[in-house]
Each structure stands twice: as C-alpha cells, then as structure tokens.
C-alpha cells in the first residue's frame, strides 16, 4: 500500500464528532462527521475511526490528536468525581462563606495553617501534621483525588509543594493537584476551585483516554495519543491525565487553528481573525502571528464555575443567520440577539404561513411579519397566556389573531407576552431573519422565497413594491456585515488595550465604519491588518463585505465543517511561562518568584540572568513531561516602570520574563 504516515485529528464536540486524516505536507486526505454519543465518547470516536479506516490504512496513522468537550461537559453538568480540597492559610470565615456560596462544588474542604503574603513571605509556618491529618480525614470520606491550594501560592508555592510531597508519601495511589501548577493569576478562591475541579476530572479523563487507546489498539492503530488544551497547544495524554481542567474549551481553539490552516495562512507577520457565524451567535477568535490563539488570563466561567486557567479568548455575540430582525421605534434595524425560525423555513413546513403573512401585509396595524407557533413549554399560569395557548393549540397564528378579543392591555403588549413565552418554550416565533433576506435576493435557494418576500415588504414600509423589498434586503445584508466588522474591530482595539470591554467609544467607532459610505466627513478608512477568515453556514454571505469594510479580504476555507479535527491534527506543543521579579523596598533588593519558591538578589541584572539560567532547564523538563520532543525556548524581559513625583523620578514596579517554549521537532 502506498502513502506515508500522517496524523488523525479528532474533535469530539457537543453535537458532532469530526475526524480528519492529514498526511503528505498536511493535505486533508479523509474526513468524517458522526453524531456525538455523550454517554460513550470512546465508542463515538471508534465509530469515526472505523469510517476513516475505509479510506486510510491503519498503519498510516502515526499520531492521534484529540480535542474533546469531556472536561467542559463534566464541569457544566457537575459530573466530576468527589475530590478533597486542602486549603493552606485561608481565613476560616472566608472558607465558610465560599462553601456556602458553593464555590468549590462538591469538594470536601479541609483547612490547614500556613500560607504566604503578597510579597511571598511566609504568613505562618505550614502545619505539616495537620496536612496529614486532613488528608486522612478526606480519604475517609472516599474522595478520589486531592487538591491543594495555598494562600498566595503563585507568589510562593513552597507550602503547596511541601504538602504534595507529604501526601505522596502518605497516599501514594491518589492523584494530587496543586493550585500553582494550573493557575498563575491571583485569586485564592478561584485557584482553589480550579484545583478541586481538576482533581475531580482526573479519573474521568483517564477513563476516556484509556478507552480511546483501547479503541485504537482494537482497530490496529499503533500511534501516540496527544490532547488539545484550551489554549490550543498539544500535550501528551499523560500530561492531560494530570491536568484535565486545562482541556476546557479546547474545541473552539482547535476549530480556529483548523480554519487558519485551511485558509492557507502560512508563516505570517499578521494575526488572523476567525469569525464563526452560526444560526444564533457569532464567535470571534484571534490567532497571533504564529497561529496560536490569543489567550486570556482571567480564566473562564464554565457552567457557573470560575476556572482560572489560561484559555482561548472568544468573543461571542448574538448575531446569526436566524437572528430576528425588527424595526425599532426610531426606524432603524435591530438584528438579533434572539434566534427565531426564518419565515422561509416556517413556510416550507407550514404552507398557511404565506396566507397569514398576506393578512398582516393588508392589515392596517400590520407592522411586523411574525407568525407564532405552539411550543412544548409550560404556561406561566397568566390567564391571557392560557387563552393564547388555547388558540395556538389549533395551529400557528398571527399576533393580531392572538390579541383578538383580549383587553386593551394585552393587545398592546401582545409582542412582549409572546417574547416571554418564546423564552420559556411555550411558543415558537417565526420572523424575518438574515436567512430570509438571502432567500429574497435568491442568493440562497433552499426554500421558496414567497414568505420571505412578503416579510421583507412588511418591514420595508407599509406598501413596498418588489424592488423596495429587495433594496431592504440588501440593507439587511449590509447591516449584518457591518455588525460583524464592527465587533471584530472593537475586539482588536480591546486586545490592544486601547479601549475597555464596555467602552463608550462604541458609537464613534460605528460611525467610523460608515464614514466612507455616508460621505459626510473626511472618509475615514479603517484597516484591520489581519487575515479575516469566515467559517460557519452563512459566512459566505456576509464575510466578504465585512472584511472589505476593514480593508481586508476574507478567506472562506473549504473543509471548514471539519475544521476542529483539522485544527487538532495541525496543533503543536507549546508552552508559555511568565516569571515575576518584584522590588524589595526595605532592603533595596529584588525577589524572584520561581516555580519552586522565592529567591532574593541585591541586583536586578543578576536576578534576571540567574532566573533565566534556572528556568531554562526547568522548562525543558516540564516540556518533556508535557510531550514536547525538542523544546526550543525564547524569552523576553520587560521592566515595568512608571514616572512619579511630577515627572521628577521613575519607579520600578516589577520585571517580567516571558518564556515561550515551542516544539522545534514539529
């Protein structure tokens, strides 16, 4: 058989599991999509591999890279196994409050004296006897793993490290997670929660990865297994088994990297902006010029659990192909954030929709092309709602029909009542959407365009002719593209630190985007300076225009539907580490916050050079553990200073040394 060995990428997502086999200069040779079975991810993966093997010989699969929603789902659904949490040096009152607020989920909590302060000085010596005692107490409660979190352990981890040593001797068979190994940010409670969730995920991920290895073995695949993390990097299965919490949101990271690869962005000096337009929402992800996701340090909120690990920074907003379009009181168009059934789709399933739309068109009060369908949700108990539900039981209806015979109050608020019912699933709304605009314009011909055309006419003006309705649909497409362009541009400004997330400059920016078309001012041209890549079903319709508004071209890669699997396949090992050096005012010296404790120096230069000398071998051994075969380390140093005393002097805040570990072998 011919062919070379290659990589099988797998993205086990919420709805579908995608697989892609890449070989020969990373050409996609086979792709498969199978529905995800949540109760048995390994079996789903097996099914997928089986299909791949119809096109690819088993021996050709040299590596398997896996991105999965397992950690995310288990966290969201509170399906982590019981873990124990040992808190070192936390205030007892604070612990009580945190437990009351369910901050640590199902973890059993023990408190031990010790901990450090903001400088990294010991607050109180670690009570080693209490560490042992606490762990015994936890094991009696049948926990399957133990997490340790020390106060200010990111400034001085020695108590966590010592406690871990003690526990390893005492309970050699139990998994032990330390807070400082997962998070580098301050917030003792989020770090503790992160460590506890990690401990609770370990048995689950081990089970999955072992099952996948068995599946591979059973299918005759002799390959190494790696896992995609939430920051988009690739690590060995062994590393993932002890750091499972780091794999949350690995799916979107893989999809973004896959999209960039499929769009053919080679070595680039520019970042890439991946815009994933769905039915309900659009996600924006930025990849740096090396193709690695831009990360955020603040962590992620996963099903109400605050997790303090570095994850890919996704901006999600409520705009998609099925977003509801309404005319606001001032006459402008509002697109989203609610998702509805496009009129075209509704009409294809229920032909009476067209006639009902005609009724709205000719009715004197007809302003909105909305058809209400019965839902499966429960009634709120409000009498008017009960009557509405009774009417709906006979079939879809217009708002006017539903309001007929009601008191004036209900007639006036019928729209809001139906919106509330829609939120609860007691009713389902069909309304005009970007999908309808595309249908009217015949850019999309999946459905008959009659219903969409009537809808466009109603929204355009009371007596719109066909040309006016079409012009209206062009406006809608333009507005969708502009919203996307604006969100990308705004995120770019946020990421550069030029505006804050809830900045008030929004309206100025929006005007800036339209400056050329309005021809009222100097004709400002905005230029993004990044590759724009569109994925998702309606991307073809809006991305080109959105990109041109930012003076860029859009790439719309083929194979994007299996982008997650491709991204997993092309993923590589990398690691980032930031070392902090703080000034010691009392002695005039400097303190290095190393991963194994603190070290003080008289001189900043010596502090910096000694710590680099310490960090390089440390990072190399860490990289080897995590699956980096030939790690190459680059570092940059930044001394943060500020001008003070009215410009007379400057003051040193801290020095950061940023280490970037890449896999030279890949």
């Amino acid at each position: 058989m011919d062919g070379t060995r290659g990589i099988l990428g797998i993205d086990a997502g919420g709805t579908f599991t995608d697989l892609a086999f890449l070989a020969n200069g990373k050409i996609v040779e086979a792709r498969v999509k199978v529905p995800t079975r949540h109760d048995d991810l390994a079996a789903t993966i097996g099914e997928g591999i089986d299909l791949i093997l119809r096109e690819v010989d088993a021996w050709r699969i040299g590596d398997v890279h896996l991105a999965s929603t397992l950690a995310t789902n288990a966290t969201v659904e509170n399906k982590t196994v019981p873990s124990g949490l040992i808190l070192i040096g936390y205030d007892e009152e604070d612990i009580k409050k945190a437990v009351d607020r369910n901050l640590f989920g199902p973890a059993e909590v023990e408190s031990v004296p010790g901990g450090h302060d903001e400088k990294g000085n010991e607050k109180e010596p670690l009570d080693e006897a209490k560490v042992i005692e606490s762990s015994d107490a936890l094991l009696e409660k049948n926990v399957e793993g133990i997490a340790i979190s020390g106060y200010f352990s990111v400034r001085n981890p020695t108590h966590e490290i010592r406690a871990k040593e003690l526990l390893k001797l005492r309970h050699p068979n139990i998994s032990i997670t330390c807070g400082h190994e997962l998070a580098s940010e301050l917030d003792a409670f989020k770090r503790a929660a992160t460590a506890a969730i990690n401990a609770g995920l370990i048995p689950i991920i081990i089970k999955l990865l072992e099952a996948v290895k068995n599946v591979m073995h059973g299918l005759g695949i002799n390959a190494s297994l790696s896992v995609v993390k939430g920051d988009g990097s690739l690590v060995s299965a062994e590393w993932a088994e002890s750091h499972p919490v780091e794999t949350v949101v690995s799916g979107p990271a893989a999809s973004a990297m896959g999209a960039r690869f499929l769009a053919g962005v080679k070595k680039s000096e520019r970042p890439s902006w991946i815009v994933d337009i769905g039915g309900t929402t659009t996600d924006i992800i930025c990849l740096d010029k090396h193709g690695n996701p831009v990360l955020k340090n603040e962590g992620a909120s996963i099903g109400g659990h605050e997790i303090l690990v570095k994850t890919i920074d996704i901006r999600t907003f409520g705009l998609g192909g099925d977003s509801r379009i309404v005319r606001t009181k001032d006459g402008s168009l509002k697109i989203g954030p609610r998702r509805v059934i496009p009129l075209a789709v509704a009409a294809s399933e229920e032909p009476s929709v067209v006639n009902m739309l005609r009724e709205i068109e000719t009715s004197p009060s007809g302003r909105e092309p909305v058809i209400v369908f019965p839902g499966k949700g429960k009634c709120s108990g409000m009498p008017a709602e009960e009557r509405i539900m009774k009417k709906l039981a006979k079939g879809p209806a217009t708002l006017e029909y539903l309001a007929h015979g009601e008191k004036i109050g209900v007639v006036h608020s019928i729209g809001q009542i139906i919106d509330k019912m829609d939120e609860r699933g007691a009713a389902v709304i069909a309304a005009f959407t970007p999908t309808d605009a595309l249908t009217v314009l015949r850019r999309l011909d999946k459905w008959d365009n009659q219903a969409s055309s009537i809808g466009a006419g109603i929204l355009a003006s009371s007596h719109a002719n066909a040309a006016e309705a079409e012009a209206f649909c062009l406006d809608v497409c333009e507005a969708v593209s502009r919203n996307i362009a604006w969100e990308v541009f705004r995120k770019a400004l946020c990421d550069d630190g030029l505006i804050s997330k809830n900045s008030e400059y929004d309206s100025h920016l929006k005007i800036g985007l339209r400056s050329r078309e309005l021809e009222t001012g100097p004709g400002i041209t905005l230029h993004l300076n990044g590759n724009m890549i569109g994925v998702g079903a309606p991307a073809w319709a809006f991305m080109e225009r959105a990109a041109s508004m930012l003076s860029e071209k859009a790439a719309l890669p083929e194979d994007a539907p299996v982008g997650g699997a491709v991204g997993a396949a092309v993923g590589t090992f990398f690691m980032r580490h930031v070392l902090l050096i703080t000034p010691l005012v009392k002695t005039g010296g400097f303190r290095v916050h190393l991963p194994n404790g603190i070290k003080d120096f008289d001189d900043l230069e010596k502090a910096a050079s000694d710590s680099v000398n310490f960090m390089i071998p440390w990072l190399k051994s860490m990289a080897a553990e995590a699956g980096g075969t030939a790690p190459e380390i680059e570092w940059t140093r930044k001394d943060e200073v500020a001008i003070i005393s009215g410009g007379a002097r400057s003051i040193h805040l801290w020095t950061r040394i940023m280490f970037n570990v890449e896999d030279g072998g890949a």
Binding site: E185, V585, A642, R649, L653
Partner: protein, 217 residues
C-alpha cells in the same frame, strides 16, 4: 489684606513655625469670608510643600518638619467643622481611607477624608501606617464602595500595588473601587498597578470618585 496676601503670610508663618501667627491669619481670612478649602489649598498646603523642599535641601530638620505638621493639623481640625454638609441623610457612598504601611504622613489623607465627608460621602479613616491585611479585614466588615490609599514616600508606594494584589487574592477586587494618591503618586503609576482612579488633590478626588461610582450603576 487680600486673600493672596493672607496666604503668603500663612506660608511664611508656617515656615517660621509661628503657630500663633498662622492661627491669627487663618482667623482673619475666615472673617474676610475666604473659603476654608481655599485656606487649606492656597496657604497651608503650599507652606508644607515649601518646608518639604527646604527639608530635602537640608535647610530644615525633622523636628521642625514635625512642628509644622502639627500646626497644619491643628488648622485642619479647626476648619473641619466649617465644611458642613456632613449630616446629609442619604450618603453618596462609603469610603475607607488609609495611609499605607510604613508611612505616617497623615495630613493629606486627613484632608481627603474631610473633603469627602463634606461632599456627602460616609468616610471611615483607617489611620496611618496601616498594613494591607488590616484594610482587607476592614473591607470584609464594612463593605465600602471606595478604598483610598495615600503614600507620601516613593518607598511606600509599593504598598499600594501590594494592597491591590492582596485584594485580588482575597477575591475582593471587584467589590469596590480603588483610589490612590499622595504627592509622589502619578496617574501612570495608578493605571499600571491596576487602581481604578487617581487624583492630585482632595477636590479632584471627589470628582474622580463620583465618576467611578456612576460607571458602576
């Protein structure tokens, strides 16, 4: 004498450490309807600044600095009653002010406290030389809207940065706004250490806090 002449007199009297003359001129100014705030800003504060300069040049020594500070504190106490408003029914917000650990400069912080309470804020004065942990404990107890930290020494400014770190570690950072101030402190410093606001003097501090609290709602 116009008010500027009165201020110049106060400045000179303060440098001469002539307490009686300072009090005499302050009384005159009040009789002339000069606003207490202007007396503090135009006379007393400027005088202290000049003494500070003389001190750094070695012209004046620590005991004299202390004496001048005592006189200034005395004037402030006398004037504090004249700011009025204090007992507004609905407070605009609750503030804790403290001079950071290792720093005993009291005057600036006390002036800030006075102006805030005169502007309708509820003020808790935590004193001088206050360790971060003590402020953190106070925050848990008092649940303030604003915490203001004063540092007059470039060496104690680091304590402002460390306090913000301590608040983050305690999971409290987002529950209040942090203002920093003191003669050496700058806006650049405030931004880099992650404070929410900075002000050069007490009156602009009120404006800045008003703005911060407005944003929050």
């Amino acid at each position: 004498m116009n008010s500027q002449e009165l201020f110049n007199g106060m400045i000179n009297a303060l440098i001469e450490l002539d307490k009686d003359e300072v009090l005499n001129l302050v009384a005159k100014a009040l009789a002339d309807n000069v606003r207490p705030m202007d007396i503090l800003n135009g006379g007393i504060t400027v005088g202290l600044q000049q003494i500070g300069e003389l001190f750094s040049e070695g012209e004046v020594f620590l005991p004299e600095l202390l004496l001048a500070a005592d006189i200034a504190m005395g004037v402030m106490k006398d004037l504090s009653d004249r700011f009025g408003v204090g007992d507004q029914i609905e407070k605009r917000g609750r503030c804790i002010f403290a001079t950071v650990e290792g720093d005993v400069h009291d005057i600036g912080k006390s002036l800030v406290c006075m102006i805030f309470s005169a502007s309708g804020y509820e003020v808790l004065d935590a004193g001088v030389d206050v360790p971060s942990q003590k402020i953190i404990d106070m925050i848990k107890e008092e649940k303030p809207d604003v915490v203001g930290l004063s540092s007059l020494l470039s060496t104690t400014m680091q304590a402002q940065r460390e306090f913000i770190e301590a608040a983050k570690e305690a999971g409290l950072r987002d529950s209040f706004k942090i203002m920093v101030g003191g003669a050496p402190v700058s806006r650049e410093w405030a931004e880099k250490i992650g404070a929410d606001g900075y002000a050069e003097d007490a009156s602009s501090a009120v404006v800045e806090v008003d703005k911060l609290l407005e944003q929050r709602v």
